[in-house]
């Protein structure tokens, strides 16, 4: 993975830029000391690191606007950062960039249950948003695994998903409005507590643009009444392919669970050791969750287990208590962490049509043998969003490279099967150089034109999303 060489002209004016920033920010909002800057050298994609020129932590939209105006006038690249949980390197700095973190933008600005909205500053974490409204029976639906730590700003930048988006959609489906600061310091309001755009859907364009079009400081989010109840059922199968076929049959049958999660044996073991969730010992496990009143849950689970029985499950068990349900989900949500304790791994995020699940799982198994690296699979099966974890040994020379090559092959397979490179983690730097696998030059050109409109100097979150050679002319201009 290559990053552009730092621009010496920008490095040379570091002192001048820092002096200007110091004039408009309180002392604690500007980090210039090298040891402290080092804390921002990477996000959750820890294989790549780079210490930024400085870090700013503004606490108001107005401060963000002033910072960006200075950086714009001085032509200094800015890397927006939520909580730094990106698995795609979305918040990786360059040496000649300034990190703009939203960690101090944490206020709840408004909660309105009649209109079913919450307006927050975007440094607030995903789980804290739900925490703000849950005692009144509401919740914020998108629930990425990192929800304890990840910020709404990052959720919007990456259009984050989660386990329950089969029913509730992803961030873009739950985002009603934003206050955004453009690179030149202009503040724009898009959307609000009403639905849909007056003109072009710029809100939809901002969501998922990986912090390259503007810095979102405030967001109006849709909140939903909490369902009366929810219950997961565990289904064990003796092969991944059978589990995949079962998923397809459930969806075809007209039942729409809120979540259908998949894990294979290596993952089941790691999660079980970690969370003691009571997962069965089997090759492939599905966690299927439905919502409603007790009677409604019984009715839906009845249909679902009837379908599962046709696939000869080795285990079929409904959760018996709230406590058991919590453990089942804790196990699933700690999958990445649990795997990380026993192995180095690379987590992929390709999405495929649900109908291709059995074929793609089989091919990944074959490729695993070809590359000589094990794969653990954990993913959102209901929507085809896969998370193969390729296991490798970072201390073994050549293993990381082999792992990256294997990962690239899996993502190409996803695209060939009619899917895409990334379902919820984002492109960042990780999938940047694979974009040409999925997109023709005209497709990328159309996307880059949007960047030209919002950030004509290409200063925001540089060297991400678009392959370097494709964006070279624009970045140099």
């Amino acid at each position: 993975m290559e990053m552009p060489a730092p621009n010496p002209a920008i490095l040379a004016k570091r002192d001048r830029v820092l002096t200007q920033l110091a004039e408009i920010l309180p002392a604690e909002a500007l980090i210039s000391d090298e040891a402290e800057r080092r804390a921002y050298e990477c996000d959750a994609l820890t294989a790549y690191r780079c210490v930024p020129m400085a870090v700013v932590l503004p606490s108001t939209t107005e401060e963000v606007a002033r910072i960006l105006r200075i950086c714009h006038d001085e032509k200094v690249p800015v890397v927006p950062r939520g909580s730094g949980t990106s698995l795609a390197g979305g918040a990786l700095p360059t040496e000649d960039s300034i990190i703009l973190g939203v960690a101090r933008l944490r206020d709840v600005l408004e909660v309105d249950y009649a209109d079913r909205i919450i307006r927050v500053q975007t440094g607030m974490t995903n789980l804290a948003v739900t925490g703000e409204v849950e005692s009144d029976g509401f919740f914020y639906a998108p629930d990425p695994s990192s929800q304890l730590a990840c910020a709404i700003a990052g959720n919007i930048a990456m259009n984050s998903g989660g386990a329950h988006c089969l029913k509730y959609g992803v961030t873009t489906n739950n985002l009603l409005g934003v206050t955004m600061v453009q690179m030149d310091g202009t503040v724009v309001e898009l959307g609000g507590a009403h639905l849909d755009a007056a003109g072009y859907d710029l809100l939809g364009l901002i969501c998922g643009s990986e912090g390259q079009l503007g810095v979102v400081t405030e967001a109006t989010l849709r909140i939903l009444p909490r369902p009366e109840g929810a219950r997961p059922v565990l289904m064990g199968f003796d092969s991944s392919e059978v589990a995949g076929a079962c998923v397809s049959d459930i969806i075809k049958a007209g039942v729409l669970p809120v979540a259908i999660e998949f894990m294979d044996r290596p993952c089941i073991r790691a999660c079980e050791d970690f969370a003691k969730a009571g997962y069965p010992d089997c090759e492939a496990l599905l966690i299927v969750e439905v919502e409603g009143s007790e009677a409604e849950i019984d009715e839906q689970l009845g249909l679902i287990t009837q379908i599962a029985r046709r696939h000869n499950p080795v285990e079929l068990r409904e959760s018996q208590s709230e406590d058991e349900s919590k453990k089942i989900w804790l196990g699933r949500k700690s999958a990445f962490g649990a795997m990380g304790q026993i192995n180095d791994y690379m987590c992929l995020d390709g999405t495929i049509p649900v109908s291709s699940l059995p074929f793609v799982l089989r091919r990944i198994g074959e490729m695993s043998k070809e590359f000589g690296l094990d794969v653990a699979n954990v993913f959102h099966a209901g929507d085809g969003n896969m998370h193969p974890l390729i296991l490798f040994d970072a201390n073994k020379p050549g293993d990381l490279e082999r792992c990256e090559a294997f990962g690239a092959e899996i993502l190409k397979l996803c695209v060939e099967a009619g899917g895409c490179l990334t379902g919820e983690h984002g492109v960042g730097i990780e999938k940047r150089d694979l974009m040409a696998v999925q997109f023709a030059p005209e497709d990328l050109e159309a996307q880059m034109r949007v960047k030209d409109v919002f950030d004509p100097q290409w200063l925001l979150n540089p060297a991400k999303v678009f392959p370097l050679e494709v964006s070279a002319a624009r970045r140099a201009a």
């Binding site: 009403h194 003109g199 998922g208 969806i251 495929i352 969003n385 997109f439």
Partner: protein, 366 residues
């Protein structure tokens, strides 16, 4: 002009000598009047891929919507967002097409639960103003690969590109539906009831106040689920409710969706997207017959011809669009809500880059 393939479409746009009026079925003719050669997409027709087991559909943009709906119904599935049919309201004939629906981001009462057309749209192909063929998104439900031009194109009324193919995620058609109907109530009482209903866990997916002032609340699901939820909702709201089931319920929502109450009435029709709690005040200021949908978030207003409704509303958060008005009115009154200067500059910048020669429905959106 009527291209028979995406390649022909691309060639026609590339070699266009002047403005073109992009047309699907011609049933949603709104916006500032555009003069130019008509470019019809009806030749780009047919379902390219339909996978009921993956809840996904890929269809060419000129395909009649009726053909799509029939194919989905056979498998017990549907487009989740309940797209409006504008023919009766606008007094037009023709067949609504998939592309026209997407260009309008047409969404009906179920918008409050399952989202707008743009929320179910997962991929598309289009020809931009220079003739380049562009694809974005795909045919999977979760996809964050690159910028989301799918959302940008939905509701852009053919001013950024001509759609050639669209992909959707679908939902199963529930087995049963029930609608609770109140007596006539004021707009304020209606919004209070609708907000309360939408705040319950009973998954109300239609909340409207018809032209007759009665509130309607819809629940869909399995048969037992629907009867349980209907009863629970009535208990939560109190008061007397008439109960409509199956066909009677479906017909009521078709009428609300298509604003049938205003179809034969004389006057201009405006569509307002507002914050629900501000709706009663705006309805009072509009001082005209209204239909409210989306729990109060959507207001259809029937006003005297040529009246600029925005002048009576004053500043509000949301937007007003002139949907039905004579050509003269549409030329004189901004059809789409004027935008704040920095937002308008972004929109102008996008238009300049996606249609640099200004050949696609120029001026339609202002």
């Amino acid at each position: 002009m009527r291209p028979a393939s995406e390649e022909e479409l691309s060639e026609m746009v590339r070699t266009a000598k002047g403005p073109m009026v992009v047309r699907g079925g011609g049933t949603r003719a709104i916006g500032r009047p555009v003069a130019g050669e008509v470019l019809e997409t009806a030749g780009l027709s047919g379902i390219s891929l339909y996978e009921p087991g993956a809840l996904t559909l890929v269809v060419q943009a000129g395909t009649p919507l009726a053909e799509v709906e029939a194919a989905l119904a056979k498998e017990g599935q549907r487009l989740p967002f309940e797209p409006m049919d504008m023919r009766a309201l606008l007094g037009r004939d023709g067949e609504p097409t998939v592309g026209g629906m997407v260009a309008a981001n047409a969404s009906g009462p179920r918008r409050v639960q399952t989202g707008a057309c743009r929320d179910s749209l997962i991929g598309l192909r289009f020809v931009d103003g220079s003739g380049a063929i562009v694809k974005n998104g795909g045919r999977v439900m979760k996809n964050v690969t690159g910028y989301d031009l799918v959302k940008l194109m939905a509701g852009s009324w053919g001013t950024l590109g001509v759609l050639s193919e669209c992909s959707f995620k679908l939902l199963p058609v529930p087995a049963a539906e029930v609608t609770l109907v109140s007596a006539e109530v004021s707009p304020a009482e209606a919004v209070r009831l609708m907000s309360q209903a939408l705040g319950t866990p009973y998954e109300v997916n239609g909340a409207a106040r018809g032209a007759d002032g009665r509130v309607a609340l819809r629940i869909e699901g399995f048969a037992e689920q629907v009867s349980y939820r209907g009863a629970a909702l009535r208990a939560a709201l109190g008061g007397d409710w008439e109960v409509l089931e199956s066909d009677a319920s479906a017909e009521l929502w078709r009428d609300i969706r298509n604003v049938r109450g205003f179809a034969r009435a004389a006057g201009d029709v405006w569509r307002l997207s507002v914050r629900p709690s501000e709706a009663p005040d705006l309805v009072a200021r509009a001082d005209c017959p209204v239909v409210m949908d989306w729990g109060g978030g959507l207001i259809w207003a029937l006003v005297a011809e040529r009246r600029d409704l925005r002048a009576s509303l004053g500043a509000f958060k949301g937007h007003a669009t002139l949907i039905r008005g004579s050509e003269a009115t549409r030329a004189a009154v901004p059809v789409f809500q004027p935008e704040a200067a920095p937002v308008a500059a972004l929109a102008q910048g996008l238009r300049a880059r996606f249609d640099p020669r200004g050949v696609l429905n120029p001026g339609l959106m202002g």
